[in-house]
């Protein structure tokens, strides 16, 4: 991970840690999930190609004759009822809207361009690269020895241009974004170099040897796409008989690559609390354990979303003082193993 406006960089290496993470293609995940669903087909029914068009919420107090469960109407006219409705329908969640849960949202004036890229030469492709340009971070995530995934967050206009470009132009833009030094200023470079020497005096191994990102040769033709970026957080994750998970509850900038991981964390936490409740014979839609899920996840998610937002703003500028701050900050973080391990 490094800055376009200075020489500062930070490297996370596997030697100090267990497997740092895994990059898995969406199709692979979908296929694995489908296999698991088939294995429990007697307990889980999936209605493919269907849509919910209406929800009827239960009244909170049980003094009346109407059903205390959530009623759902499907597009094909079928009606379902449930003790607990889980909204996993993305950042424009209809469940959240219908349940009248307020959402704090903020649109970044950025869009992300994604594509599957073919590298110029086959390499031991096990490094994820991210460079913070003033317009936004560009990231290369390894898929195989010859292919990487692109996530380039940039202004809406630039994103549209990138999509409209021919393949050669697109590839050139990517390579230039990773290699060009136009954004460096002598002042920052000198200040950075000074700081680096200071660190190496105190901590000889504290600066990293510079590795080089791969260069790109081709793009998968159908794989270029763009989507607008924003931040979002629901004020409540749960209500009586309703729970929100994933992007329906929270939406984050891709610069930290954490969006889907937050969702996975939500699932693990909700499953844990629901299974404890079931073992106690509780009504699954009861707020008591749903609130425990909400507290646990909000505590975790809010700090990460806030930190990501701060990083995004910090790296969105060319202003010298802020660049200097982040340069020194990054160099210092790179030199401090305990901090890197925590991250």
């Amino acid at each position: 991970v490094w800055d376009a406006c200075s020489e500062a960089l930070i490297v996370f290496e596997k030697d100090d840690l267990d497997d740092m993470g895994y990059i898995v293609e969406n199709d692979v995940i979908m296929s694995a999930i489908t296999k698991q669903l088939d294995a429990v087909a007697d307990r889980v029914e999936v209605f493919y190609g269907s849509r919910a068009v209406g929800y009827t919420w239960p009244l909170p107090s049980h003094s009346c004759d109407t059903s205390p469960w959530v009623q759902i109407e499907l597009a094909d006219g079928r009606r379902l009822q449930t003790k607990l409705l889980i909204g996993a329908d993305g950042h424009k969640s209809v469940v959240r809207k219908e349940a009248e849960i307020k959402n704090i949202e903020h649109r970044y004036d950025q869009s992300a361009v994604v594509a599957t890229l073919h590298l110029s030469e086959a390499t031991d492709n096990n490094v994820a690269w991210q460079r913070f340009l003033p317009t936004g971070p560009i990231a290369l995530l390894p898929l195989s020895d010859t292919a990487s995934s692109l996530v380039w967050s940039t202004s809406h206009e630039h994103a549209s241009e990138l999509l409209a470009m021919d393949e050669e132009g697109f590839v050139d833009s990517i390579n230039s974004a990773f290699w060009s030094n136009v954004n460096h200023s002598d002042f920052i470079d000198t200040a950075g170099a000074l700081f680096r020497s200071a660190i190496s005096l105190l901590k000889p191994s504290g600066t990293a040897v510079r590795q080089l990102p791969p260069s790109v040769a081709k793009v998968d033709p159908e794989s270029r796409a763009m989507f607008p970026l924003g931040m979002g957080h629901a004020t409540e994750y749960v209500q009586h008989r309703v729970a929100l998970i994933g992007d329906a509850a929270h939406r984050v900038h891709p610069l930290a690559g954490q969006g889907v991981n937050l969702g996975f964390g939500d699932i693990a936490c909700l499953a844990h609390h629901l299974s404890a409740a079931a073992f106690n014979g509780s009504d699954l839609g009861s707020l008591k354990h749903l609130l425990k899920f909400e507290t646990e996840r909000q505590r975790h998610n809010v700090s990460l979303i806030a930190a990501t937002d701060v990083l995004k703003r910090l790296y969105s500028t060319r202003l010298a003082p802020l660049v200097l701050l982040r340069t020194w900050g990054l160099q210092a973080t790179n030199a401090l193993p305990p901090l890197k391990v925590r991250i």
Binding site: S61, S63, P68, K83, F279, N280, G281, D283, S286
Partner: protein, 289 residues
Amino acid sequence: QLSLFRLTMKRLFSTSHSSVDSKEMKKFQLVAHKWWDEEGEYSALHSMNDIRVPFIRDTLLNMSSNYHLGSPLSGVKVLDVGCGGGLLSEPLGRLGASVTGIDPLEDNIRTADQHKSFDPVLAKRIQYKSSSLEEIVEECMETFDVIVASEVVEHVADLEMFIKCCSQVLKPEGSLFITTINKTQLSYVLGIVVAEKVIGIVPEGTHEWEKFVPPEELEQLLESNGFSVKTVNGMLYNPFSGSWSWVESTSINYAMHAVKSGAREHSSPTDTLSEVESEQPSATAGTTV
């Protein structure tokens, strides 16, 4: 001839010959519709499920070797005496048990029936009946694997008869679970003054300190009526968090688990005679309607 004599005695003294206290019934009548408001009058009973259901579940799981994944109480026949609105019957039903819930107050049974009717699984697993314990003894001899009498014995008129009836409807080596309140200065201060009058977590007038039962007395009554007491645990309610926990001291609330002895009950002439003898004194000592 002997059975005719018994029947006559029963009819003559049926109004006073009961473990049901009619004054108690009037108290519960007023709040019969409030059972299922989790934040309302009965919130402490709702949160008591967090400890009493695992207590029942784990005790039974430890005693048996069958385990059905996802349905730990499958195949167990439970009698919930004084079931009220069904607060304890429903979780036990969800864990797989076949539950019969009885309560002398018809309004309670009505509320319980209505609440379970929306859940297709529970509607079949739980049966409610407006009845006292004595009234079902004859048709339910040695029928149940488990009896739960939670927050009930402090409301009954004749505790020893209540226990005898429990023994009659319980299978040999069946389990009896009781939760109730101790009769101590502390339970008066915290259980009545604070709980009812100060904080109001229990509706005022629900409890009478005179009818609280010390665990020693309960244990003695159980042991002398064919039960073996296996566990006694103190319980404590935290009004700030609204939650219950297990504690060493039984000075306020406590739970007890007893097992009926394995020898089969046989109705012999000598047994029936002794029942008739004990009927007479308690008929005069019973409360009037």
